[in-house]
């Protein structure tokens, strides 16, 4: 009796069904094959669905990427894919989803994305560091110290490269900066094939490329020096056609200029900072303002965000003079007001969403009412 009991071998209880990416039935990464096996359905149906989702809105592509990151490979050794590695892949997928969402929605890339995305990128880099630490867990304290020092050097070097690239692009050397970015991309590609550990080059390459791209996209021009420039012409003859400051604050106060009836073209250029135009109540202002990142505030109207292009061309009322303003601020604010105090009151209070709102009781009072309120 006892011997019978000991010879009986119990069948191991089947474990829970696992969703894995199939190795045998795969077209790209085995996601649909794995789904077919899991749900006991022909995987072709999942493939048709995935292709349809890719074609109609692109969601299929994002879901497929997410599945690659989250669903383990059929024969994958669980010890090889660490938790930090999976975290890194998830952060990557989130960033890709945001990128694809921005493109597919045809909407503007909102500035408020910057903070959460920045945090995500830092999180990704932290996880990367964890992975590197995990891989060299057998390393001595001296090795760890050397690795930390190298990481610090790469970060400091990247900050210097970022500042240098931004300065180069902002001082009219965009072509040189672009060639430097292309060279960095090329060097990274060569290193990917020739060096076993080329990944540390990614951070300085991105540190160069991203600020250069931001400066070019914002149209930041740092020519014209830095600081605060306050112009208060006391006659029309003193009013110049163009004012410029590279970084800082530019105030052109025309309240004492006694402008004559007719159009008065005026250009304001600020690379980084604030451009302020102050006009008396009887002067109409027609505005075409471009701001890379920031805000345009024209009397009672505000428009802010990225790629701001403000165009308001009202007709003047009666014989009032009209200032035809062409303003360009790379990063910062264009402010048009009847009072210079508004410049201080609203300095750098940027709104981070693209929408127009009424913010004060000021109006473009020198213009015809129907146009001025636009």
């Amino acid at each position: 009796m006892d011997s019978e009991e000991t010879t009986q071998v119990q069948e191991p209880a089947p474990g829970p069904k696992r969703l894995v990416r199939s190795r045998e039935d795969r077209v790209i990464a085995g996601v649909c094959g794995g789904l077919g096996r899991y749900f006991d359905v022909d995987p072709v149906l999942f493939r048709i669905g995935a292709v349809a989702l890719v074609l109609f809105g692109g969601a299929g592509l994002l879901l497929y990427l997410a599945a690659i990151a989250l669903v383990p490979d059929e024969h994958a050794d669980p010890s090889k894919r660490t938790l930090p590695q999976r975290g890194l892949a998830i952060v990557g997928v989130v960033l890709l989803v945001v990128a694809a969402g921005s493109i597919l929605s045809h909407g503007p890339f909102h500035l408020w994305f910057a903070w959460p995305l920045g945090i995500l990128v830092v999180l990704g880099l932290g996880i990367w560091f964890l992975i590197a630490a995990d891989r060299s867990s057998g390393a001595s304290v001296r090795d760890t110290g050397q690795r930390l020092l190298l990481g610090l050097l790469v970060l400091v070097g990247s900050a210097v490269i970022a500042a240098g690239g931004a300065w180069l692009a902002g001082t009219g050397n965009g072509t040189v900066a672009a060639i430097a970015v292309l060279a960095a991309g090329g060097a990274l590609a060569v290193a990917a094939f020739t060096t076993r550990s080329a990944r540390w080059l990614i951070v300085p390459a991105l540190a160069l490329a991203v600020p250069v791209g931001v400066v070019e996209a914002a149209g930041i021009d740092l020519h014209g020096g830095a600081g605060e420039r306050d112009y208060q012409p006391v006659s029309q003859d003193q009013v110049r056609s163009s004012y410029r400051v590279g970084a800082g604050r530019l105030i052109v106060d025309l309240r004492d200029a006694h402008l004559t009836p007719g159009d008065h073209p005026l250009k304001l250029r600020v690379g980084l900072g604030q451009a302020v135009l102050v006009v008396p109540n009887n002067v109409c202002v027609a505005t075409h303002a471009k701001v890379g990142v920031g805000q345009v505030r024209s009397f009672d109207r505000t428009n802010g965000g990225v790629d701001v292009d403000w165009n308001n061309q009202p007709a003047t009322a009666g014989t009032n003079p009209r200032v035809v303003l062409d303003a360009h601020v790379g990063m910062g604010q264009v402010l048009i007001s009847h009072t210079s105090a508004a410049a201080f009151e609203h300095r750098f209070r940027l709104r981070f969403r693209d929408k127009t709102t009424i913010v004060t009781n000021e109006t473009n009072s020198g213009c015809e009412v129907s146009n001025a309120t636009r």
Partner: protein
């Protein structure tokens, strides 16, 4: 079969090169680079690189 290149570095290289090309075209007034293009491209580059890092091992 052992892979002979680092996918993550290659993805980053592709993204950085594309950024450089767009900046070059903008600097030479061929196109007007806007944040609507730059933002998603930077996101895709960083996201693709991190995804590749998460799915592959360096060296």
């Amino acid at each position: 079969m052992e892979r002979r290149f680092d996918v993550a570095s290659l993805v980053a290289a592709l993204g950085v090169s594309l950024l450089g090309l767009l900046v070059l075209l903008d600097a030479t007034d061929v196109i007007r680079l806007r944040f609507a293009v730059l933002g998603p491209l930077v996101c895709a580059t960083v996201g693709g690189t991190l995804l590749a890092m998460g799915l592959t091992r360096s060296g």
